[in-house]
Symmetry: D2
Subunit: 152 residues, 4 copies
């Protein structure tokens, strides 16, 4: 399944994100997922500053995270990121977190997003200038294996 992921970023776990039990705090993963989404979209030229924020005027509607092994202070984590499906007004981001060095899979998860008219609260069609680059980038991998990424 890992071969479906074409985009990667790395982050080093900072002191501030580690809790009293010496582990990366469980809520921080969702901040890191957001960073993954922003960097993925930046890589496609869709996010580049405050004036590009209307490109992400969408709502997170579901979040899932499966914690397999803990991350610790100063671990360097590789985040594998993909869009697993894109529909009229929704799409899904998937994540696999691996520790650099021993290549252990630490965490998997996904985010379901819906494009919304922020005035009315109703879903709206994802604009082509956002959808098209994603479809082109993911190519044949789109619509394969949605949900929580399965890694053995």
């Amino acid at each position: 399944m890992i071969e479906l992921f074409k985009f990667r970023i790395e982050m080093r776990i900072p002191f501030e994100d580690v809790d009293l039990f010496r582990l990366l705090h469980n809520a921080k993963y969702f901040s890191y997922f957001e960073k993954c989404r922003f960097e993925y979209l930046r890589n496609l030229g869709l996010i580049y500053g405050e004036e590009s924020l209307p490109n992400v005027e969408c709502a997170v509607v579901e979040h899932f995270c499966s914690y397999k092994k803990p991350a610790r202070y100063d671990d360097v984590i590789e985040f594998l990121v993909r869009v697993s499906y894109i529909r009229r007004s929704s799409l899904q981001f998937q994540y696999i977190l691996r520790r650099k060095g021993d290549e252990q899979v630490l965490t998997t998860g996904y985010t379901n997003l819906v494009w919304v008219n922020f005035e009315t609260g109703k879903p709206k069609t994802i604009p082509p200038h956002i959808k098209d680059p994603v479809v082109e980038f993911e190519g044949d991998n789109l619509n394969k294996m949605p949900g929580n990424p399965v890694v053995k």
Copy 2:
């Protein structure tokens, strides 16, 4: 389903937790879920200071959140909290978030926890001094409707 929840806390959304789109940031919900768990356990006398932290030497293994309506700055949110099941070494917390005033259900979610020997990384039996008060508090509601709380 709401009648299964016997424990409630309230929180007011602070300025710092609201993002540029004027909405409670999606990652903060998981911090609030943690506060729910700690307050639930405090209410049962299981958390009361640093010396009680070994009582929660357990690992979050799965997190799920369904965002239905956004929360905004200064909203007062009622958090309904329950343990939906408790097994040999695992248990599940469920949450329903309702806005005070209009009683709208904003968010639902759950956390799956496993008690772990932090030395070996292996699951361990939940100690009776933790399990028994939870079983007594939840009573007949235990083992009903696990997973993401369904509210119409």
Copy 3:
């Protein structure tokens, strides 16, 4: 000096704000200071929801914190809060943090704020509907002992 402080709030230190060294993390104090400012202004009726946020369209220009003793998980902290001066377009908030139970002074600090026209970036006069309630609340204590609160 403590007798100059007429407004108080209490907070319990949550698990998430404590770092690997088992101490309240040094950056969190500034989040708590913000909560102090908002609660002080709420008490005067100046902050009550999203529509009241223009009342605090002001910029933090200086922040100071003196850490005397550490706070720990589950400590209940009493925050003493005052406005020490208010001028044409600036004011200063002061804070003293005391632990409930042993009444130890843990931390002192201040925030200097300037009211700013967010379009032009220039200072503007603090509106009377904000200034007057603060002047009335602080009374004779205003303009006494600005800077970092001195407590023996």
Copy 4:
């Protein structure tokens, strides 16, 4: 004064750190200052993982920040970092934040640290394996211009 700073890191302001007023939140600067300290010490080989954390078993005793111009979402900030003095058991870190592109100085600040015996709470001598690399790195710049960095 800028020429006294020999160490630099860059950070891009993420969405999550920007507040409802579209500005980098005032408390986040202190998290960034911490990152500066850790990266400075990593550069000297003093921080490299969990086993190196005893090297920073020291207490923040004072924090100051002067906010001159706001930072915004996606700004790339250059952090200039130095140790301005180092004594028997204390040292001071200074910071200057400049925006990449227009080179505007946004913020200045400092952190005063004291090495402490965490058992007794008493100050202790900074170990030579920490002090010596700092003294060597800063060289003649040490003991010049302590306090808040002055930049015109």
